[in-house]
Symmetry: C2
Subunit: 388 residues, 2 copies
């Protein structure tokens, strides 16, 4: 018997309450019973997004919603600006190129944030840019981008702003309408801690104007078909959706609003702060050097030169039962990523750093055993979030 | 308290054993634990498909897998032949047109089967046809097409054969390799009675040759990306999959093989035979006039002229708790469809016809109460399937 803990940037552990909803018998997706649940979920997603725009529910991973954003918004040959510093930002570039768009790529060092002023400069120079695509929380590095500033810039140009908020939603305040975000993408399996398989995507009036002119091929991800189905009473999806996941999401959204969104943001911030303190107490370097660019969903830590990050992750999972993730792409083996997103409390961070200490010790790294754990404890003890 | 029964052509009721698997805590999709389950599921799907081809798992509805077949197999402007007689066959046409293909449509009356010889004639006349697309079991009418004969024809031409077997798999024998079927599409929520949200697609060597030349845009449904991920050890998916659904499918596939595939086909045949007898005992007409064209997943029954089919379906659900489906597209209001697919036994058919009798009586239709139920009982009593 080895107790298992999932502390990855997603999928995230599902709470017992949500698992029970998820395990309920099937209800038919064309029944009023499901329609009423779906209507509730759609309203709750709008509250989460802080938007009056429609939020659509797709049965796919977040990547499917990224494809939906691209395939619905453009005409072949359209020019788009991708601003990114990690694997998921690059995915926007890959999808856009696959669909025949011309991509200008503002490519920052992995671990740095996007500079909003660079976006302004490009938009100022080039009125043919139809969209800016940028990740909010870049899951491969833990960076958070300043979407509020980017939104404030893009709103004055013809381009729309497409935001991958998959690990950003729930972990950090995001104001879809106030920040002028045209398309915002989220997923069921991240901050909401619902099962994997559902993505969401909000669409502004400015984006609909582009969608109306789009000539790229789409069928499964056709947002006009989704809109038509959603306008029925009760609302529907054009194709059979992941019914049980949506039912589970309804409970997960309730749990979020019972906690309160502001409290949820503060909780994620507290988890992140404690994790940074834990890493620093071990003398390890955080990948994101600039504190203001560190997101609250994921802490990326550079692995000491002498240690293979992949080996570290493997031992942590096999010997200690704690699943974290390593680096992706060019950071493979060089960093570890501790996810503190969704259904996560303070003792999960204690577990993560306790296990990390034990693995580092197994691998011969020299440090004072307990240093990280006590630093994490102190961070929590000094955090106002926990003063009730 | 109103006990609920789902007897639709899908999604189908999930068995308690599968629901329990589905409600388990999350395992990470990059963990060896999930990888091993996924490897098992892939092997079991090959057994279900009776194929040596790879079977890919997509997180989407069956429509997503239909799009995958189209977007991966063709070049812009390619000519394809769609042979169909219902809503789901027409979906092949819609997707193909959306992706810029030239579609020749062999369009049969809804309720009739496709004539394989018409396909031979078209292929003989036109060597530019790159594919034939046809549904196995047409869910909107209950028709089953003679895919064995169509496969025997198409194999001698350059065209590939793409089969929508979404409600055909598990309900009726399907031999992917022996029948020369190049691409076969299935879904989690039909004969397998697993939760909604996963589709499968098998790909033959002949189809891979087309896929290698394809220039249509695809990213989320890219089968080359799926193949690359599946070749890892243990196998993976390129994007985050519907993890819990795949875990549930693993149990559902075990349950199928414990029953035995031949027994499952015979069970579905027995359910269909009894349903036809029930309808006929009420003096109602089956939509599929030709007995040899009636599939075993769904019985479509013409509603008497005096009765609104939509009203019938609604009363059956609201007053009696039994969910069946009405007609789609041009058959809306004119037929009802009783699904007897997946986790269905003889008393489910008794329930369906008992409820149908009571609704028909509510709506003033004249018949001898008990006629359908007793006909269903007699059909079961005379069926060898139940002699154990």
């Amino acid at each position: 018997m080895l107790k298992k803990y999932i502390l990855t940037p997603g999928p995230t552990a599902i709470s017992e309450d949500v698992l029970i909803e998820h395990g309920r018998p099937l209800i038919h997706h064309r029944s009023p019973e499901f329609g009423n649940i779906f209507a509730e979920v759609l309203e709750k997603l709008k509250k989460l997004y802080r938007t009056k725009n429609d939020v659509f529910v797709l049965t796919s991973s977040g990547t499917g919603a990224m494809e939906a954003a691209v395939a619905n918004s453009f005409k072949k040959g359209d020019r788009v600006l991708v601003a990114s510093s990690g694997k998921f930002g690059e995915r926007f570039k890959e999808i856009s190129e696959e669909f025949g768009l011309e991509v200008i790529h503002l490519d920052y060092e992995w671990g740095s944030a996007v500079n909003p002023e660079d976006i302004r400069e490009r938009l100022e120079d080039d009125n043919k840019i139809r969209a800016v695509m940028v990740p909010f929380s870049e899951t491969s590095t833990g960076v958070i981008n300043d979407i509020e500033s980017i939104g404030d810039i893009v709103k004055d140009y013809p381009a729309i702003l497409i935001v991958d908020a998959i690990t950003g939603l729930v972990t950090t305040d995001l104001e879809t309408d106030k920040w002028h975000l045209d398309i915002v993408i989220g997923g069921s399996q991240k901050g909401l801690s619902a099962p994997t398989g559902i993505a969401f995507i909000s669409v502004s009036d400015k984006a609909w104007k582009l969608i109306d002119q789009s000539d790229l091929p789409k069928y499964y991800f056709d947002l006009k078909a989704a809109r038509k189905a959603m306008q029925k009473n009760p609302p529907q999806t054009p194709w059979t959706p992941g019914i049980s996941i949506i039912v589970a999401m309804n409970r997960a959204l309730d749990i979020l609003f019972e906690e309160g969104m502001e409290r949820a943001f503060e909780r994620h911030r507290a988890m992140a702060n404690a994790s940074w303190a834990g890493a620093e107490a071990l003398g390890l370097e955080l990948l994101v050097a600039e504190p203001g660019s560190r997101g609250f969903s994921t802490t990326a830590i550079r692995v000491p030169e002498s240690i293979d990050g992949k080996e570290l992750v493997k031992i942590m999972r096999v010997k200690y039962g704690v699943t974290i993730t390593g680096g992706q792409g060019k950071l493979a083996g060089k960093i570890i990523r501790i996810g503190h997103i969704g259904y996560v409390g303070m003792f999960d961070i204690i577990i993560a750093f306790s296990a990390l200490e034990m693995v580092l010790s197994d691998l011969g790294f020299k440090f004072e055993v307990g240093a990280a754990v006590s630093a994490v404890q102190k961070a929590f003890m000094n955090n106002n979030y926990f003063n009730i």
